[in-house]
Amino acid sequence: MLKNVFGGSTEQKVIDDIRKHIYTLSSAADCFRKGLEEWDKDHMYCVSDLEREGDSIRREIISTIYEGAFLPFLRTNICRYVEIVDEAFDVLKDAAFEFNYLGPGLEEEIREDCIRIAGINKEMCEMLAIAFDTLFNKGDLREKTLAIRIYEKKVDDIKFELISKLRKKEVKDFWEGRILSDFIAYLTHISDVIEDASDYLHIMNLSMR
Protein backbone atom coordinates (compact mmCIF):
# COMPACT_ATOMS: atom_id res chain seq x y z
CA MET A 1 0.00 0.00 0.00
CA LEU A 2 2.77 2.39 0.91
CA LYS A 3 4.30 1.84 -2.49
CA ASN A 4 1.04 2.86 -4.00
CA VAL A 5 0.94 6.02 -1.96
CA PHE A 6 4.48 7.04 -2.66
CA GLY A 7 4.30 6.52 -6.40
CA GLY A 8 4.58 2.96 -7.29
CA SER A 9 5.67 0.67 -10.04
CA THR A 10 2.42 0.77 -12.01
CA GLU A 11 2.76 4.49 -12.58
CA GLN A 12 6.36 4.09 -13.65
CA LYS A 13 5.38 1.32 -16.04
CA VAL A 14 2.77 3.52 -17.67
CA ILE A 15 5.26 6.36 -18.07
CA ASP A 16 7.88 4.05 -19.57
CA ASP A 17 5.30 2.58 -21.93
CA ILE A 18 4.18 6.03 -23.08
CA ARG A 19 7.80 6.85 -23.83
CA LYS A 20 8.16 3.60 -25.74
CA HIS A 21 4.98 4.45 -27.66
CA ILE A 22 6.24 7.79 -28.86
CA TYR A 23 9.71 6.45 -29.69
CA THR A 24 8.05 3.78 -31.81
CA LEU A 25 6.16 6.53 -33.64
CA SER A 26 9.45 8.33 -34.16
CA SER A 27 11.02 5.20 -35.64
CA ALA A 28 8.04 4.72 -37.91
CA ALA A 29 8.31 8.32 -39.12
CA ASP A 30 12.02 7.86 -39.75
CA CYS A 31 11.45 4.61 -41.59
CA PHE A 32 8.83 6.35 -43.73
CA ARG A 33 11.21 9.12 -44.61
CA LYS A 34 13.93 6.66 -45.63
CA GLY A 35 11.48 4.72 -47.74
CA LEU A 36 10.46 7.92 -49.45
CA GLU A 37 14.06 9.02 -50.05
CA GLU A 38 15.07 5.73 -51.53
CA TRP A 39 11.67 5.24 -53.17
CA ASP A 40 11.67 1.74 -51.72
CA LYS A 41 8.24 0.14 -51.45
CA ASP A 42 9.55 -2.82 -49.47
CA HIS A 43 11.12 -0.54 -46.93
CA MET A 44 7.71 0.95 -46.22
CA TYR A 45 6.50 -2.28 -44.66
CA CYS A 46 8.34 -1.38 -41.50
CA VAL A 47 5.77 1.38 -40.99
CA SER A 48 2.86 -1.01 -40.63
CA ASP A 49 4.94 -3.32 -38.45
CA LEU A 50 5.78 -0.48 -36.13
CA GLU A 51 2.16 0.66 -36.17
CA ARG A 52 1.05 -2.73 -34.94
CA GLU A 53 3.65 -2.60 -32.21
CA GLY A 54 2.42 0.85 -31.27
CA ASP A 55 -1.10 -0.53 -31.03
CA SER A 56 -0.12 -3.25 -28.62
CA ILE A 57 1.83 -0.79 -26.46
CA ARG A 58 -1.23 1.43 -26.37
CA ARG A 59 -3.43 -1.43 -25.19
CA GLU A 60 -0.87 -2.26 -22.55
CA ILE A 61 -0.89 1.34 -21.32
CA ILE A 62 -4.64 1.55 -21.10
CA SER A 63 -5.06 -1.72 -19.25
CA THR A 64 -2.30 -0.85 -16.77
CA ILE A 65 -3.95 2.49 -16.11
CA TYR A 66 -7.25 0.93 -15.34
CA GLU A 67 -5.60 -1.53 -12.99
CA GLY A 68 -5.21 1.52 -10.82
CA ALA A 69 -2.42 3.84 -11.79
CA PHE A 70 -2.74 7.55 -11.14
CA LEU A 71 -5.62 9.61 -9.80
CA PRO A 72 -8.84 9.01 -11.76
CA PHE A 73 -8.74 12.58 -12.87
CA LEU A 74 -5.45 12.10 -14.65
CA ARG A 75 -6.35 8.69 -16.02
CA THR A 76 -8.80 9.84 -18.67
CA ASN A 77 -6.39 12.55 -19.75
CA ILE A 78 -3.53 10.13 -20.22
CA CYS A 79 -5.70 7.70 -22.15
CA ARG A 80 -6.88 10.45 -24.44
CA TYR A 81 -3.29 11.53 -25.06
CA VAL A 82 -2.26 8.00 -25.99
CA GLU A 83 -5.23 7.76 -28.37
CA ILE A 84 -4.14 10.94 -30.15
CA VAL A 85 -0.63 9.56 -30.64
CA ASP A 86 -2.25 6.39 -31.93
CA GLU A 87 -4.10 8.48 -34.48
CA ALA A 88 -0.75 9.76 -35.76
CA PHE A 89 0.32 6.16 -36.21
CA ASP A 90 -2.80 5.46 -38.23
CA VAL A 91 -2.31 8.43 -40.52
CA LEU A 92 1.33 7.47 -41.08
CA LYS A 93 0.26 3.96 -41.95
CA ASP A 94 -2.33 5.30 -44.39
CA ALA A 95 0.30 7.46 -46.08
CA ALA A 96 2.62 4.44 -46.38
CA PHE A 97 -0.25 2.49 -47.88
CA GLU A 98 -0.95 5.10 -50.53
CA PHE A 99 2.77 5.31 -51.26
CA ASN A 100 2.68 1.72 -52.46
CA TYR A 101 0.37 2.72 -55.27
CA LEU A 102 2.22 5.84 -56.30
CA GLY A 103 3.98 4.33 -59.26
CA PRO A 104 7.61 4.59 -60.32
CA GLY A 105 8.22 8.10 -59.16
CA LEU A 106 7.25 11.72 -58.75
CA GLU A 107 8.51 14.99 -60.16
CA GLU A 108 11.71 16.03 -58.47
CA GLU A 109 10.26 19.15 -56.84
CA ILE A 110 7.24 17.39 -55.47
CA ARG A 111 9.34 14.49 -54.22
CA GLU A 112 11.72 16.84 -52.45
CA ASP A 113 8.91 18.64 -50.71
CA CYS A 114 7.48 15.33 -49.54
CA ILE A 115 10.83 14.24 -48.19
CA ARG A 116 11.19 17.52 -46.34
CA ILE A 117 7.78 17.09 -44.76
CA ALA A 118 8.61 13.52 -43.76
CA GLY A 119 11.81 14.78 -42.16
CA ILE A 120 9.98 17.45 -40.19
CA ASN A 121 7.43 14.85 -39.06
CA LYS A 122 10.21 12.80 -37.55
CA GLU A 123 11.63 15.81 -35.73
CA MET A 124 8.19 16.63 -34.40
CA CYS A 125 7.91 13.13 -32.93
CA GLU A 126 11.21 13.57 -31.16
CA MET A 127 10.10 16.92 -29.82
CA LEU A 128 6.86 15.38 -28.58
CA ALA A 129 8.87 12.82 -26.61
CA ILE A 130 10.92 15.64 -25.10
CA ALA A 131 7.73 17.54 -24.29
CA PHE A 132 6.24 14.55 -22.49
CA ASP A 133 9.38 14.22 -20.40
CA THR A 134 8.91 17.73 -19.06
CA LEU A 135 5.86 16.51 -17.22
CA PHE A 136 8.13 14.97 -14.66
CA ASN A 137 11.39 16.85 -14.86
CA LYS A 138 11.95 20.52 -14.44
CA GLY A 139 11.65 21.36 -18.13
CA ASP A 140 9.46 24.07 -19.58
CA LEU A 141 6.59 22.52 -21.47
CA ARG A 142 5.63 25.76 -23.16
CA GLU A 143 8.96 25.92 -24.94
CA LYS A 144 8.58 22.43 -26.36
CA THR A 145 4.99 22.93 -27.52
CA LEU A 146 6.05 26.15 -29.19
CA ALA A 147 8.81 24.27 -31.01
CA ILE A 148 6.22 21.77 -32.22
CA ARG A 149 4.01 24.56 -33.47
CA ILE A 150 6.95 26.06 -35.33
CA TYR A 151 7.51 22.72 -37.04
CA GLU A 152 3.84 22.45 -37.90
CA LYS A 153 3.89 25.92 -39.41
CA LYS A 154 6.85 24.86 -41.57
CA VAL A 155 4.90 21.86 -42.83
CA ASP A 156 1.97 24.15 -43.54
CA ASP A 157 4.14 26.44 -45.62
CA ILE A 158 5.50 23.56 -47.68
CA LYS A 159 1.99 22.12 -48.02
CA PHE A 160 0.67 25.36 -49.42
CA GLU A 161 3.28 25.38 -52.17
CA LEU A 162 2.96 21.66 -52.76
CA ILE A 163 -0.78 21.78 -53.30
CA SER A 164 -0.50 24.58 -55.85
CA LYS A 165 2.14 22.57 -57.72
CA LEU A 166 -0.06 19.49 -57.63
CA ARG A 167 -3.04 21.31 -59.04
CA LYS A 168 -1.05 22.13 -62.14
CA LYS A 169 0.03 18.53 -62.65
CA GLU A 170 -1.52 16.42 -65.36
CA VAL A 171 -2.80 12.99 -64.41
CA LYS A 172 -3.55 10.05 -66.68
CA ASP A 173 -6.68 8.93 -64.82
CA PHE A 174 -8.84 9.47 -61.77
CA TRP A 175 -7.07 6.91 -59.58
CA GLU A 176 -3.61 8.27 -60.20
CA GLY A 177 -4.86 11.68 -59.15
CA ARG A 178 -6.80 10.31 -56.22
CA ILE A 179 -3.92 8.27 -54.86
CA LEU A 180 -1.50 11.16 -55.12
CA SER A 181 -3.99 13.52 -53.52
CA ASP A 182 -4.65 11.10 -50.65
CA PHE A 183 -0.95 10.51 -50.14
CA ILE A 184 -0.22 14.20 -49.81
CA ALA A 185 -3.26 14.70 -47.59
CA TYR A 186 -2.16 11.97 -45.17
CA LEU A 187 1.45 13.10 -45.24
CA THR A 188 0.55 16.65 -44.31
CA HIS A 189 -2.03 15.60 -41.73
CA ILE A 190 0.51 13.84 -39.51
CA SER A 191 1.95 17.10 -38.28
CA ASP A 192 -1.53 18.34 -37.35
CA VAL A 193 -2.13 15.29 -35.18
CA ILE A 194 1.21 15.65 -33.44
CA GLU A 195 0.41 19.28 -32.78
CA ASP A 196 -2.91 18.16 -31.26
CA ALA A 197 -1.05 15.75 -29.02
CA SER A 198 1.27 18.45 -27.78
CA ASP A 199 -1.66 20.80 -27.15
CA TYR A 200 -3.24 18.04 -25.11
CA LEU A 201 -0.11 17.70 -23.00
CA HIS A 202 -0.42 21.40 -22.30
CA ILE A 203 -4.02 20.96 -21.14
CA MET A 204 -3.04 18.00 -18.97
CA ASN A 205 -0.34 20.08 -17.39
CA LEU A 206 -2.75 22.85 -16.51
CA SER A 207 -5.45 20.59 -15.12
CA MET A 208 -3.53 19.64 -12.03
CA ARG A 209 -2.74 23.08 -10.68
Binding site: M1, N4, V5, T134, R209
Partner: protein
Protein backbone atom coordinates in the same frame (compact mmCIF):
# COMPACT_ATOMS: atom_id res chain seq x y z
CA UNK B 1 -33.00 -2.45 32.25
CA UNK B 2 -34.03 0.97 31.11
CA UNK B 3 -30.41 1.98 31.49
CA UNK B 4 -29.73 0.02 28.40
CA UNK B 5 -31.93 2.20 26.22
CA UNK B 6 -29.69 5.25 25.96
CA UNK B 7 -26.62 3.06 25.65
CA UNK B 8 -28.20 1.07 22.86
CA UNK B 9 -29.39 4.24 21.16
CA UNK B 10 -25.86 5.60 21.33
CA UNK B 11 -24.32 2.64 19.71
CA UNK B 12 -27.01 2.61 17.09
CA UNK B 13 -26.14 6.17 16.21
CA UNK B 14 -22.48 5.21 16.17
CA UNK B 15 -23.33 2.50 13.69
CA UNK B 16 -25.11 5.14 11.62
CA UNK B 17 -22.14 7.44 11.39
CA UNK B 18 -19.95 4.53 10.47
CA UNK B 19 -21.98 3.84 7.40
CA UNK B 20 -22.22 7.49 6.42
CA UNK B 21 -18.92 9.06 7.23
CA UNK B 22 -16.55 6.48 5.84
CA UNK B 23 -17.32 7.79 2.41
CA UNK B 24 -16.59 11.31 3.56
CA UNK B 25 -13.22 10.35 4.86
CA UNK B 26 -11.88 7.73 2.57
CA UNK B 27 -14.02 7.69 -0.53
CA UNK B 28 -11.57 9.73 -2.53
CA UNK B 29 -8.59 7.66 -1.48
CA UNK B 30 -10.24 4.39 -2.37
CA UNK B 31 -11.37 5.75 -5.70
CA UNK B 32 -7.82 6.71 -6.49
CA UNK B 33 -6.49 3.31 -5.70
CA UNK B 34 -4.32 4.86 -3.03
CA UNK B 35 -5.69 2.33 -0.60
CA UNK B 36 -7.82 -0.78 -0.96
CA UNK B 37 -11.29 -0.87 0.54
CA UNK B 38 -10.55 -3.34 3.34
CA UNK B 39 -7.42 -1.57 4.43
CA UNK B 40 -9.27 1.73 4.25
CA UNK B 41 -11.90 0.45 6.65
CA UNK B 42 -9.30 -0.74 9.11
CA UNK B 43 -7.41 2.54 8.93
CA UNK B 44 -10.67 4.38 9.38
CA UNK B 45 -11.61 2.32 12.43
CA UNK B 46 -8.19 2.75 14.02
CA UNK B 47 -8.13 6.48 13.64
CA UNK B 48 -11.64 6.89 14.95
CA UNK B 49 -10.52 5.05 18.06
CA UNK B 50 -7.32 7.08 18.31
CA UNK B 51 -9.32 10.25 17.84
CA UNK B 52 -11.76 9.62 20.62
CA UNK B 53 -9.11 8.34 22.99
CA UNK B 54 -6.74 11.24 22.42
CA UNK B 55 -9.02 14.22 22.15
CA UNK B 56 -12.55 13.08 22.82
CA UNK B 57 -12.66 14.43 26.37
CA UNK B 58 -13.36 18.05 25.71
CA UNK B 59 -16.30 17.55 23.43
CA UNK B 60 -17.65 14.81 25.65
CA UNK B 61 -17.58 17.20 28.58
CA UNK B 62 -19.26 20.00 26.69
CA UNK B 63 -22.11 17.86 25.51
CA UNK B 64 -22.39 15.55 28.43
CA UNK B 65 -21.77 17.81 31.36
CA UNK B 66 -21.65 21.49 30.55
CA UNK B 67 -24.72 21.70 28.45
CA UNK B 68 -27.34 19.81 30.36
CA UNK B 69 -27.48 18.11 33.68
CA UNK B 70 -28.41 14.71 32.39
CA UNK B 71 -30.43 12.04 34.03
CA UNK B 72 -31.83 8.75 32.83
CA UNK B 73 -35.19 9.84 31.39
CA UNK B 74 -33.65 12.77 29.55
CA UNK B 75 -30.99 10.51 28.15
CA UNK B 76 -33.33 7.74 27.08
CA UNK B 77 -35.77 9.96 25.31
CA UNK B 78 -33.35 12.34 23.65
CA UNK B 79 -31.00 9.64 22.45
CA UNK B 80 -33.81 7.47 21.17
CA UNK B 81 -35.32 10.40 19.31
CA UNK B 82 -31.92 11.28 17.95
CA UNK B 83 -31.27 7.71 16.89
CA UNK B 84 -34.62 7.55 15.13
CA UNK B 85 -34.13 10.81 13.30
CA UNK B 86 -30.62 9.88 12.25
CA UNK B 87 -31.59 6.46 11.01
CA UNK B 88 -34.50 7.87 9.03
CA UNK B 89 -32.36 10.58 7.49
CA UNK B 90 -29.62 8.11 6.64
CA UNK B 91 -32.12 5.85 5.02
CA UNK B 92 -33.73 8.70 3.08
CA UNK B 93 -30.32 10.13 2.23
CA UNK B 94 -31.10 13.49 3.80
CA UNK B 95 -28.10 15.43 5.00
CA UNK B 96 -28.81 15.77 8.68
CA UNK B 97 -26.09 16.70 11.09
CA UNK B 98 -25.70 14.19 13.90
CA UNK B 99 -24.44 16.84 16.28
CA UNK B 100 -27.35 19.14 15.76
CA UNK B 101 -29.90 16.38 16.19
CA UNK B 102 -28.35 15.15 19.42
CA UNK B 103 -27.94 18.56 20.93
CA UNK B 104 -31.38 19.59 19.78
CA UNK B 105 -33.04 16.58 21.32
CA UNK B 106 -31.01 16.81 24.52
CA UNK B 107 -32.06 20.39 25.06
CA UNK B 108 -35.60 19.58 24.06
CA UNK B 109 -36.12 16.89 26.61
CA UNK B 110 -34.15 18.81 29.21
CA UNK B 111 -36.33 21.88 28.89
CA UNK B 112 -39.47 19.76 28.93
CA UNK B 113 -38.48 18.05 32.13
CA UNK B 114 -37.49 21.31 33.76
CA UNK B 115 -33.82 20.42 34.07
CA UNK B 116 -31.27 23.17 33.88
CA UNK B 117 -29.86 23.98 30.52
CA UNK B 118 -26.63 25.91 30.56
CA UNK B 119 -27.42 28.68 28.16
CA UNK B 120 -23.85 29.91 27.97
CA UNK B 121 -22.72 26.53 26.75
CA UNK B 122 -25.69 26.42 24.40
CA UNK B 123 -24.78 29.77 22.91
CA UNK B 124 -21.15 28.76 22.55
CA UNK B 125 -22.21 25.67 20.67
CA UNK B 126 -24.59 27.47 18.33
CA UNK B 127 -22.00 30.14 17.64
CA UNK B 128 -19.51 27.41 16.79
CA UNK B 129 -22.01 25.90 14.39
CA UNK B 130 -22.33 29.20 12.58
CA UNK B 131 -18.69 30.21 12.73
CA UNK B 132 -17.11 26.88 11.79
CA UNK B 133 -18.06 26.84 8.10
CA UNK B 134 -16.75 30.37 7.80
CA UNK B 135 -13.48 29.38 9.43
CA UNK B 136 -13.31 26.40 7.09
CA UNK B 137 -13.93 28.78 4.18
CA UNK B 138 -10.90 30.85 5.04
CA UNK B 139 -8.68 27.96 6.09
CA UNK B 140 -9.18 26.24 2.76
CA UNK B 141 -8.76 29.45 0.83
CA UNK B 142 -5.42 30.09 2.53
CA UNK B 143 -4.36 26.50 2.08
CA UNK B 144 -5.20 26.65 -1.61
CA UNK B 145 -3.20 29.82 -2.07
CA UNK B 146 -0.28 28.28 -0.20
CA UNK B 147 -0.44 25.23 -2.43
CA UNK B 148 -0.46 27.44 -5.49
CA UNK B 149 2.74 29.05 -4.35
CA UNK B 150 4.53 25.82 -3.52
CA UNK B 151 3.21 22.64 -5.07
CA UNK B 152 2.03 24.21 -8.30
CA UNK B 153 5.58 24.95 -9.28
CA UNK B 154 6.48 21.30 -9.58
CA UNK B 155 6.13 19.09 -12.64
CA UNK B 156 2.88 17.31 -13.27
CA UNK B 157 3.68 13.81 -12.14
CA UNK B 158 5.40 15.02 -8.99
CA UNK B 159 2.26 16.93 -8.08
CA UNK B 160 0.20 13.82 -8.70
CA UNK B 161 2.43 11.74 -6.42
CA UNK B 162 2.33 14.32 -3.65
CA UNK B 163 -1.41 14.67 -3.96
CA UNK B 164 -1.93 10.98 -3.42
CA UNK B 165 -0.09 11.08 -0.12
CA UNK B 166 -1.87 14.25 0.91
CA UNK B 167 -5.27 12.81 0.12
CA UNK B 168 -4.54 9.87 2.37
CA UNK B 169 -3.53 12.21 5.18
CA UNK B 170 -6.64 14.27 4.86
CA UNK B 171 -8.76 11.13 4.88
CA UNK B 172 -7.06 10.04 8.08
CA UNK B 173 -7.60 13.46 9.57
CA UNK B 174 -11.30 13.23 8.90
CA UNK B 175 -11.42 9.75 10.43
CA UNK B 176 -9.69 11.13 13.49
CA UNK B 177 -12.19 13.97 13.68
CA UNK B 178 -15.06 11.53 13.41
CA UNK B 179 -13.76 9.93 16.56
CA UNK B 180 -12.69 13.02 18.46
CA UNK B 181 -15.71 15.13 17.65
CA UNK B 182 -18.67 13.17 16.34
CA UNK B 183 -18.34 9.98 18.36
CA UNK B 184 -17.49 12.11 21.38
CA UNK B 185 -20.72 14.06 20.91
CA UNK B 186 -22.69 10.87 20.86
CA UNK B 187 -21.00 9.22 23.81
CA UNK B 188 -20.59 12.35 25.95
CA UNK B 189 -24.00 12.26 27.64
CA UNK B 190 -24.01 8.56 28.52
CA UNK B 191 -20.48 8.69 29.84
CA UNK B 192 -21.05 11.67 32.02
CA UNK B 193 -24.24 10.30 33.41
CA UNK B 194 -22.17 7.44 34.71
CA UNK B 195 -24.03 4.83 32.75
CA UNK B 196 -20.94 3.52 31.14
CA UNK B 197 -17.27 4.01 31.73
CA UNK B 198 -15.29 6.22 29.35
CA UNK B 199 -12.77 3.75 28.04
CA UNK B 200 -15.37 1.04 27.58
CA UNK B 201 -17.66 3.40 25.75
CA UNK B 202 -14.87 4.63 23.49
CA UNK B 203 -13.89 1.12 22.53
CA UNK B 204 -17.39 -0.15 21.93
CA UNK B 205 -18.41 3.05 20.22
CA UNK B 206 -15.51 2.83 17.82
CA UNK B 207 -16.36 -0.78 17.21
CA UNK B 208 -19.90 0.13 16.21
CA UNK B 209 -18.64 2.86 13.92
CA UNK B 210 -16.35 0.32 12.35
CA UNK B 211 -19.19 -2.18 11.98
CA UNK B 212 -21.38 0.44 10.37
CA UNK B 213 -18.63 1.16 7.89
CA UNK B 214 -17.96 -2.49 7.13
CA UNK B 215 -21.55 -3.62 6.75
CA UNK B 216 -22.77 -0.67 4.76
CA UNK B 217 -19.56 -0.10 2.86
CA UNK B 218 -21.32 -0.40 -0.47
CA UNK B 219 -22.17 3.23 0.07
CA UNK B 220 -18.52 4.06 -0.12
CA UNK B 221 -18.28 2.36 -3.45
CA UNK B 222 -21.30 4.30 -4.64
CA UNK B 223 -19.65 7.59 -3.78
CA UNK B 224 -16.63 6.66 -5.80
CA UNK B 225 -18.75 5.67 -8.71
CA UNK B 226 -20.29 9.11 -8.79
CA UNK B 227 -16.91 10.69 -9.20
CA UNK B 228 -15.05 13.18 -7.10
CA UNK B 229 -17.26 16.23 -6.74
CA UNK B 230 -17.04 19.20 -9.02
CA UNK B 231 -13.52 19.88 -7.94
CA UNK B 232 -10.31 18.42 -9.29
CA UNK B 233 -8.17 16.52 -6.78
CA UNK B 234 -6.00 19.56 -6.21
CA UNK B 235 -8.85 21.77 -5.02
CA UNK B 236 -10.58 18.78 -3.49
CA UNK B 237 -7.66 18.18 -1.21
CA UNK B 238 -7.48 21.83 -0.17
CA UNK B 239 -11.17 21.71 0.67
CA UNK B 240 -11.08 18.45 2.57
CA UNK B 241 -7.92 19.17 4.51
CA UNK B 242 -8.97 22.73 5.28
CA UNK B 243 -12.25 21.43 6.67
CA UNK B 244 -10.41 18.80 8.66
CA UNK B 245 -8.08 21.34 10.25
CA UNK B 246 -11.04 23.52 11.10
CA UNK B 247 -12.84 20.66 12.83
CA UNK B 248 -9.66 19.76 14.70
CA UNK B 249 -9.42 23.31 15.95
CA UNK B 250 -12.99 23.34 17.24
CA UNK B 251 -12.53 19.91 18.77
CA UNK B 252 -9.67 21.22 20.82
CA UNK B 253 -12.00 23.96 22.02
CA UNK B 254 -14.48 21.30 22.95
CA UNK B 255 -17.15 22.42 20.50
CA UNK B 256 -19.21 19.75 18.74
CA UNK B 257 -19.49 20.76 15.07
CA UNK B 258 -20.38 19.17 11.79
CA UNK B 259 -17.69 18.16 9.33
CA UNK B 260 -20.19 18.26 6.49
CA UNK B 261 -20.96 21.94 6.94
CA UNK B 262 -17.27 22.69 7.21
CA UNK B 263 -16.64 20.88 3.96
CA UNK B 264 -19.36 22.93 2.30
CA UNK B 265 -17.70 26.06 3.65
CA UNK B 266 -14.30 25.00 2.39
CA UNK B 267 -15.53 24.01 -1.06
CA UNK B 268 -17.02 27.49 -1.35
CA UNK B 269 -13.73 28.93 -0.17
CA UNK B 270 -11.71 27.11 -2.80
CA UNK B 271 -14.30 27.85 -5.44
CA UNK B 272 -14.19 31.52 -4.53
CA UNK B 273 -10.45 31.63 -5.03
CA UNK B 274 -11.01 30.55 -8.59
CA UNK B 275 -13.41 33.42 -8.97
CA UNK B 276 -16.55 31.39 -9.31
CA UNK B 277 -19.27 29.88 -7.19
CA UNK B 278 -19.02 26.12 -6.96
CA UNK B 279 -21.88 25.91 -4.54
CA UNK B 280 -25.17 26.89 -6.06
CA UNK B 281 -27.41 29.19 -4.15
CA UNK B 282 -30.30 26.79 -4.24
CA UNK B 283 -28.14 24.28 -2.45
CA UNK B 284 -27.08 26.83 0.13
CA UNK B 285 -30.67 27.64 0.86
CA UNK B 286 -31.43 23.96 1.34
CA UNK B 287 -28.49 23.66 3.67
CA UNK B 288 -29.56 26.70 5.68
CA UNK B 289 -32.98 25.13 5.99
CA UNK B 290 -31.46 21.95 7.35
CA UNK B 291 -29.25 23.94 9.64
CA UNK B 292 -32.25 25.39 11.35
CA UNK B 293 -34.61 22.50 10.80
CA UNK B 294 -32.51 19.67 12.20
CA UNK B 295 -31.97 20.85 15.75
CA UNK B 296 -35.41 22.45 15.93
CA UNK B 297 -37.13 19.27 14.85
CA UNK B 298 -35.11 17.20 17.29
CA UNK B 299 -35.82 19.72 20.03
CA UNK B 300 -39.53 19.71 19.35
CA UNK B 301 -39.98 15.98 19.20
CA UNK B 302 -37.97 15.36 22.36
CA UNK B 303 -39.82 18.14 24.11
CA UNK B 304 -43.20 16.73 23.23
CA UNK B 305 -42.33 13.18 24.12
CA UNK B 306 -40.81 14.27 27.41
CA UNK B 307 -43.90 16.20 28.26
CA UNK B 308 -46.05 13.25 27.35
CA UNK B 309 -44.08 10.92 29.53
CA UNK B 310 -43.82 13.12 32.61
Amino acid sequence: MTELIPVAACFLIAFGIGSNDTSNALGICIGCGVIKLRRALIVFGCFVLIGILLQGQRVMETVGKDLVAVNLPILSISLSVAALLIIVSNWKRLPLSTHQVIIGSLTGSAVASGATVNFTAMTEIVVSWIVSPVVAFFTSLLLYKAMEKTISKLSLFRIEKILRTLLLFSGILIAYNTGANELATILGPVIHSGLIEQLQASLVGSLFVFLGAVILSHRVIETIGKGITTLDPYSGFAAQFGAGMCVLFFTSLGMPISTTYCIIGSISGVGMSKGMETVKFGLIRKIMANFVLAPSLAFLISFLIMRMVS
